[in-house]
């Protein structure tokens, strides 16, 4: 349990550090939301000063940070200048959409990568391995943005699946099953892009980990024991190769999360990506900080889940 407590403490410290760094960088960046207003002749300098005072922008940085921490404790996460509303309810809806997409894409990516990586290791040097590693290499060199735009083009040209958004017009009045189907159709494009972005890394790591284990003496011993090859792969080799893969799972959540921000913008998925971009362009300080903080929370949570899974899977960690 000390291991888990230590990991939890690390996660909490990482989050605290993220808030400080994000706050510092976002605040120290030149310009703010009200600088844009200065160009508007209808808004007087006095009004601007009053607005800055209202949002505590006239106070020193440490004070502003403490005020923001206080508002975080009150469940507000600061105040959006553009939406004139607390940040948390605004980002929570977008974060939910991002989570939905990222979790779906992560699960799909692993479901596809696991058999591909295992088969690639089992048939190392044969044509199936060449096809899998070759395809992975091609996907690895294609920039994420090119892949996203390519699939968007296909969606627009073929109309096989919706090219943007999260739901069709009037979908909210549909029965639950139809709504779910509509959501699945809309998710197809961004999820496919994210899965393809994640595949090369996952397949290569799984292949390497399983290939290592397949060379172990206990696999040979089990083979001599008459254990069928498929069982050797899935019941022996894969669980024995699990440790680095569990760590990779935590990492893949983070990678897909950061990848999803770009994909969301390209495919108009109403998640944190477009919302953060909009906030950055508008210099909506607390929305940017809130969005980054929530992304970090997901990333840290993903790694913490991986740590817990590792703790459960590896007795050596439990006895540490």
């Amino acid at each position: 349990m000390r291991y888990l407590a230590r990991r939890f403490l690390h996660a909490a410290m990482l989050l605290a550090a993220t808030t400080v760094v994000t706050f510092l960088f976002t605040t120290l960046a030149p310009g703010n939301y009200f600088d844009e207003m200065r160009l508007n002749p209808q808004i007087s300098p006095e009004t601007l000063t009053a607005l800055k005072a209202r949002y505590d922008l006239d106070k020193p940085l440490p004070v502003r940070y403490l005020v923001w921490v206080k508002s975080l404790a009150h469940g507000e996460m600061g105040y959006s200048f553009a939406y004139n509303s607390p940040v948390l309810p605004l980002v929570a809806v977008r974060a939910r959409n991002t989570l939905l997409l990222t979790i779906t894409a992560t699960l799909l990516a692993w479901l596809i990568a696991l058999p591909l990586g295992v088969w690639s290791a089992e048939y190392a040097g044969r044509w199936l391995d060449h096809v899998i590693t070759g395809t992975s290499a091609i996907l690895l060199v294609i920039p994420d943005i090119a892949l996203a735009l390519g699939f968007l083009l296909i969606a627009v040209q073929t109309r096989w699946f919706p090219a943007g958004g999260m739901a069709s017009v009037g979908a909210e009045s549909l029965p639950f099953a139809n709504r779910l189907w509509d959501l699945a159709q809309h998710m197809f494009l961004p999820a496919t892009i994210l899965v393809l972005i994640a595949q090369p890394i996952l397949v290569r790591h799984i292949r390497a980990a399983v290939a290592d284990v397949l060379g172990e003496g206990f696999i040979r011993a089990a083979e001599a024991h008459g254990i069928p090859r498929s069982r050797l792969l899935w019941r022996y080799a894969l669980p024995a190769a699990a440790n680095p893969l569990i760590s990779l799972f935590g990492f893949s959540i983070g990678a897909l999360l950061s990848g999803s921000l770009l994909v969301e913008v390209v495919t108009s998925w109403p998640g944190l990506g477009p919302f953060l971009l909009e906030a950055i362009l508008a210099r909506d300080l607390y929305v940017v900080i809130g969005g980054v903080l929530l992304s970090t929370v997901f990333l840290v949570a993903g790694n913490f889940i991986a740590d817990v899974a590792l703790f459960w899977a590896d007795p050596r960690i439990r006895t540490e």
């Binding site: 206990f218 011993a221 083979e223 001599a224 024991h225 008459g226 254990i227 669980p239 024995a240």
Partner: protein, 251 residues
Amino acid sequence: MSVRALDQVSFVVQPGTRIAIVGASGSGKSTLAACLACLEKPSSGSICFQGRNLEFLSESELQNIRPQVQLVFQDPAMAFNPIFTVLEILEEPWILQTKLNSEERKERAAELLGRVGLPRRILDRKSADLSGGQRQRLAIARALALEPKILILDEALSALDYSVQAQIANLLLDLADPSIPLAARPAVLFITHDLVMAARITDEIIVMQSGRIVESGPMREVMRNPAHMATRALIAGASGVSSSHEKRPAV
């Protein structure tokens, strides 16, 4: 450059016999063991099991043969899945090949452990928690779990101390107890470079050198009148070792 690991090796293993395969390092003993256990395919020649040439069998047919020819490796630490408990290690083949329920499998595993002198309480432990001697006995128990027709021990006692070697030797002698029906008695191929232990456990001997059988026959006869230089060298080495070391415990 290709190396011929085995050349013109030919012998017959009858049910219930105990044969020592001895030779210096690099003489091809372990390659022979891997071929007999269907883990390696010979590039030429044939291995027949119960009249069937293994060369012409499909992978699924070989899958059925493998449990009947069990190989115990030299290094028991490497032979077990590190994430399996002792029970999981022993019950794997029963899950696949029998309809025993979990309780029955557990009972049978405990019985098997008792046969190799291991306590029931280790069933829930991982192999890494066992000593070297316990692991090797577990390896033999796992091999016996399948009631094999041939049990091959590839330098299986080499890394063990003398007292554990003696325990396992006794176990192997028990397997050859004449009160056990011949059909239930596995043939034992004892691959070793330890002639002293081989002479205690086995009735026949095959001496190998550079991938070839250079001498074979009944153990006593070969030990008394070795015909080949390699056999004489092994006997000389063994007597040197036994005279320079403390006396081994009686088997």
